[in-house]
C-alpha cells in the first residue's frame, strides 16, 4: 500500500474520446484492408482523462506478436488482440515513455529493415565474405534481378 496504485480508490472521469478513438481504429483497419493505407494515431495527441489510456490499452489487449528494439532506449511493439492493430511504445534511455502510438498496418515501420542500412549490409557482407575467401577471389557485390535491376532499388520501390 505504499504506492498510489495500491490505494483501492479510482476516480472516474471521461473525455468521451475513448469510444471515438476505438471507432477510428476500426475505420483505419477498414482503410488498410480496402486500400492498403496504413494509419498511425498518437495517443498523446488525443485529449484523454486519467485512466482512459489504460482503458484503451485494456480493450486492445495483447496478441501473439511482441518485439523489443533497443535503439536510444527500449521500444516495444505489440500486436493487439486485433490483427493489424499494433501498440508501439517508445522509451528514452532512462526508461521514461516518450511516445505511444497505435499503428494500423501490416507491419509497423520501425520493425521493417531499413533500405539504407540494407545497402550497407550488402556491402559489408561482400567485404567480409571476400576476406574469408582470400584476396584472390573477387565476387559481385550487387545482386541483380532478372531484368538487371539493382535488387535494393526494387525493394525500395516496393
Amino acid at each position: 500500500m505504499n504506492t498510489l496504485a495500491g490505494i483501492p480508490v479510482s476516480v472516474e472521469l471521461a473525455s468521451g474520446n475513448v469510444e471515438l478513438l476505438l471507432h477510428e481504429i476500426g475505420h483505419a483497419l477498414e482503410r488498410l484492408l480496402e486500400f492498403g493505407q496504413a494509419s498511425i494515431m498518437d495517443l498523446r495527441g488525443v485529449p484523454l482523462a486519467p485512466g482512459e489510456e489504460g482503458r484503451i490499452l485494456e480493450f486492445l489487449g495483447t496478441g501473439e506478436v511482441r518485439a523489443e528494439l533497443e535503439c536510444g532506449g527500449l521500444s516495444t511493439v505489440n500486436e493487439s488482440r486485433f490483427a493489424g492493430v499494433w501498440i508501439v511504445t517508445h522509451h528514452d534511455p532512462s526508461g521514461e515513455i516518450i511516445g505511444r502510438l497505435i499503428e494500423i498496418s501490416f507491419v509497423p515501420d520501425i520493425i521493417r529493415s531499413q533500405v539504407a542500412e540494407m545497402r550497407e549490409s550488402r556491402e559489408r557482407i561482400a567485404r567480409e565474405v571476400a576476406l574469408m575467401s582470400g584476396p584472390a577471389v573477387s565476387r559481385p557485390t550487387t545482386a541483380r534481378s532478372t531484368d538487371g535491376e539493382d535488387t535494393a532499388k526494387v525493394l525500395e520501390k516496393r
Partner: protein, 302 residues
C-alpha cells in the same frame, strides 16, 4: 563539418535509422504534428546539412544551458545537438568577448536567410538597458538577428502550435483566481445597462476556466482570436468587438493589463484603461498608450 549531411553524421555516431525514426516519431508528437510525418521528418533530417544556429540567451536563469551542457550521458538529443552548428551562444562564449559577437555577425552573413534563432529568456521592453549584450539591448539584438533567420512554417503549423499551447494552458489553468474587483465591475456594468464583452487573442475554450471562475449570471459575449486574421496588437479584435456591441470604437473603454492591449487600443482608436495587475507597470502601460492607469479594477467607477 558543416557540409556533412546530418544523416551521415548520425550514422557515423552509431545511430541506426530505427533510432532516428523513433526520435522523429517522438518529435512529431512533441510538435503536435501527425505521427505519419515521422518518416518524412527523418528523410528531411537525413538529407539536411548542419544548420547554423544562433542561440540568444536573454534574461534567463542559465539552467537550460547548464542542463544541456552538463548532461552526463550521450543522448540522442545530444547527437542531434552536435549535428547542428551552434555558431553563437554568448553564455558559453562569454570569455571570448567581442570575438563572440564577431562570430555571430559572420554566421549571420554566411547563412543569411537560412540560419535558425533560438531565444531563451525574457526581454525587457520598458527599460532596454536592464539587459544588454556587448552594449546591445536584447530587443535590438533580437530584431537584428531575426531579420536574417529563415524557416517558414508549413501551412497550418501555426494553428497546430496555437491549439496545442491552448490545450496545455487549459490543462494547467484548472483553478484560476479571479482578479479582485472583476466580478463586481461586470455586475455594476450590467446593472447600469452598459454593454460589455471579452476580447481575447486566445481561443474561447482556452479562457473557459477563467470565465467560469467569474461566476457570471449570464453568458458573456466573447470575441476571440479565431474570429480575426490578426491578434493584438493589431486592432482587428477590438474593432470586431465594438461592432458586435453596436458601438463606435471611440466611445468604448478597453480594460487591459498588457502593453499589447494598449497598442491595439491606439490602433483601433479606442480609449484604454491600463491595470497594473499584469506583468508590466504603470509607466510601461502609459508609454504604450494607456489613457488612464489604475492599480485595481475596483478603482473603475461606473
Amino acid at each position: 563539418m558543416r557540409d556533412v549531411l546530418v544523416g551521415d553524421y548520425l550514422r557515423s555516431r552509431g545511430l541506426t535509422r530505427r533510432g532516428l525514426l523513433k526520435f522523429c516519431a517522438a518529435a512529431a508528437s512533441w510538435m503536435a504534428l501527425p505521427p505519419t510525418l515521422a518518416q518524412e521528418i527523418a528523410a528531411a533530417l537525413e538529407k539536411a546539412r548542419r544548420p547554423s544556429v544562433i542561440w540568444l540567451p536573454f534574461q534567463e536563469c542559465t539552467g537550460c544551458t547548464e542542463s544541456i551542457t552538463r548532461a552526463d550521458s550521450s543522448t540522442l538529443e545530444s547527437l542531434i545537438f552536435e549535428a547542428i552548428s551552434l555558431d553563437y551562444q554568448h553564455t558559453l562564449q562569454a570569455a571570448a568577448g567581442e570575438a563572440a559577437e564577431e562570430a555571430r555577425r559572420r554566421a549571420m552573413q554566411d547563412n543569411w536567410g537560412k540560419y535558425l534563432v533560438v531565444v531563451d529568456g525574457s526581454i525587457p521592453l520598458g527599460n532596454p538597458g536592464y539587459s544588454t549584450i556587448a552594449g546591445v539591448s536584447n530587443a535590438d539584438m533580437l530584431r537584428e538577428v531575426a531579420e536574417g533567420a529563415g524557416m517558414p512554417l508549413a501551412p497550418g503549423r501555426d494553428e497546430a502550435i496555437d491549439e496545442r499551447c491552448g490545450r496545455i494552458f487549459a490543462e494547467m489553468n484548472r483553478h484560476p483566481a479571479v482578479l479582485p474587483g472583476a466580478g463586481d465591475l461586470l455586475a455594476r456594468l450590467d446593472a447600469a445597462g452598459i454593454p460589455w464583452a471579452i476580447a481575447t487573442s486566445s481561443r474561447r475554450e482556452q479562457v473557459a476556466a477563467s470565465v467560469d471562475a467569474l461566476r457570471l449570471t449570464r453568458a458573456p459575449l466573447i470575441v476571440d482570436g479565431t474570429h480575426v486574421a490578426h491578434a493584438k496588437p493589431a486592432p482587428d479584435l477590438l474593432l470586431l468587438t465594438a461592432s458586435h456591441l453596436n458601438a463606435d470604437p471611440a466611445s468604448c473603454w478597453y480594460v487591459g493589463d498588457a502593453t499589447w492591449d494598449m497598442l491595439a487600443c491606439i490602433a483601433a482608436g479606442m480609449p484604454a484603461i491600463g491595470v497594473t495587475t499584469g506583468a508590466v507597470d504603470a509607466a510601461a502601460l502609459l508609454a504604450a498608450g494607456a489613457t488612464r492607469v489604475v492599480a485595481s479594477l475596483a478603482e473603475i467607477a461606473v
